[in-house]
Subunit: 338 residues, 2 copies
């Protein structure tokens, strides 16, 4: 029997995760049962929300078990099929494992058309992150022409798409990111109207106010913490805040504190709403169609930050919290057999 490798959760992190929390094991390659397929991973996704699954606490995603393989979004190639709907050579995407090979129910996989673009984009702009940006921006933040929209974590997989969707809605878009390389990408290539490198200012509130002279009508928040504090006083009447993530808080070991925010909501009659892409499952098709259309018309740019080699998956994940990625962080696990 052939072998395969998996990353397992070795231990739960306290604070910022480290390499010690992950364990690389070699196991027997699983065989597909009836209705299942064996998938060889081509690309594996690492995402900030996975930090929550390392914790032993109820949240919107199940905690991972210590000693067990971890789940991840994967784009892979079908090696063996015991299902009528898929055959060997098909490229598919779905929630599989941090693994070089995994079996999955064919019904839980989505076929990826390799002619439409790089298959890896099914984990980024044409996958969960892009769809998250789509519904969070268009359904929750609801930009209208002339609005000022702020996106935090704007150079990430979700933020970069969210900001461009706001621009396509006719809004003025301001992004925050953690390096000049990122802010340059936002303004020079993605069409953001302004971008703030939050690591280079000691007056974030002032920089935000300067970037948003007409206040803030919508805020798409991936980061939280001091960036949100800088946006808050600028919220206009009937502003919308779409809370997608709070990566600045994920590694906190104590309950983070900050300025109390609810009073401002009365003054501005603003709405703050958390959302999860999973709640829009029935409308993913709509999102994918529109996102592909924008890419095809050259209206939507994206970037992928690919780390090569399955053995580097934990490093790629840890890098998310260091802001190492521009665009979607991926791990390239294997070449496609063509």
């Amino acid at each position: 029997m052939a072998d395969t490798r998996q990353w397992r959760l070795a231990s739960r992190p306290t604070g910022t995760p480290t390499a010690e929390n992950f364990d690389l094991v070699t196991v027997e390659r699983p065989e597909p049962g009836p209705g299942e397929v064996l998938v060889r991973t081509l690309y594996q996704s690492v995402d900030p929300y996975m930090r929550g699954r390392m914790r032993d606490a109820e949240s919107y995603a199940e905690p991972w078990d210590v000693g067990e393989p971890m789940q991840a979004g994967v784009v892979g190639e079908v090696l063996e099929s015991e299902a009528d709907s898929l055959e060997a050579g098909d490229v598919v995407t779905g929630n599989l494992l941090w693994a070089e090979h995994a079996v999955a129910d064919a019904d839980e996989l989505r076929r990826v058309n390799p002619d439409l673009g790089p298959v890896s984009s099914a984990l980024g702009v044409l996958g969960m992150p892009g769809i998250t940006a789509y519904f969070g921006m268009l359904d929750v933040a609801e930009p209208t022409p002339g609005d000022t929209v702020v996106v935090s974590g704007a150079a990430g997989a979700v933020g970069s798409v969210a900001g461009q969707l706001a621009r396509l809605s006719g809004a003025r878009v301001v992004g925050t990111a953690g390096s000049d390389e990122k802010t340059d990408w936002l303004t020079d290539e993605l069409g953001f109207d302004a971008a703030i490198n939050y690591t280079e200012t000691d007056d974030l509130a002032g920089a935000m106010a300067e970037a948003c002279p007409d206040g803030v009508d919508a805020y798409f928040d991936n980061v939280g913490g001091p960036i949100t504090d800088a946006v808050w006083p600028l919220l206009n009447v009937r502003a919308r805040v779409a809370v997608c993530g709070q990566i600045s808080q994920y590694n906190a070991t104590e309950q983070p504190t900050g300025p109390r925010k609810l009073g401002k909501l009365v003054e501005s009659r603003a709405r703050v709403e958390g959302f999860l892409v999973g709640d829009y499952q029935g409308r993913w098709g709509e999102a994918l169609e529109r996102l592909s259309g924008f890419i095809h018309e050259d209206e939507l740019q994206y970037r992928e930050h690919v780390v090569d080699g399955f053995e580097n998956a934990p490093d790629a994940f840890l890098g998310l919290f260091e802001g190492e990625n521009i665009g979607k962080q991926l791990v390239k696990v294997a070449e496609r057999d063509v």
Copy 2:
């Protein structure tokens, strides 16, 4: 010429306002011009939101000017009319002054029908506070049968109505208030399912969790601060938070801080929305009709906390921040001439 008395803003408070911030002056009684009426104040309202108007800062209500008379909701009697639509003896309500007499444009007054109930209720359950509760609960918090709804400041003018409206929507209602007399009123007379005297517990989070074993589906917040902190971890999926006021913060001299709250919104996909009754101006008639209907059917109880004498208006206002009132705080200024 006859005289009248007015309360003017003597100085802006730092922190909790005191009697020194108010100045009682005697002035010549004003005369109505064309289209105007002279109103003799019967009842004057004092409301927590007035604290914001004492501040020299832009907010949803204009700051009062130092040395000038302050505005207030008033129920009064028309003494002289230069308008076709009103005549002497009519009872009216509107935004007038902290004054025994004031002139007003007849178009900016609403006639009060004294046969429908005590005219003072036009400043409470059938006025701004009741209408605030109506829209905040039914349009923003949106209780449905079986929901658990928490109301902070539940024994106040707004909270007591808000909680009963939630009960009438079929929800389980939990209130917080600052004395046993208040919590008894909530559970024994208003039909709240549970009430927490927050001054009598050193484990507010525990008390809240115990009172809400199925979590919190909607939260109508008048108070903010530690009470909100106790509700937050209990927010259920798709919970709604209607932010009406934050009285615990109004006298703060430094930016209040507390636990960061936005992460929980992602997990629970909850919505937090600030609102102002003024935004519903076009629908006040609907609210008044339904509120009167509930009172008529004995489904809605209310209480007024009346301080006698115009000279006591500042004390009545200051008492709001000490939690002295049960139900609507009013100042009785004069008897109606019948």
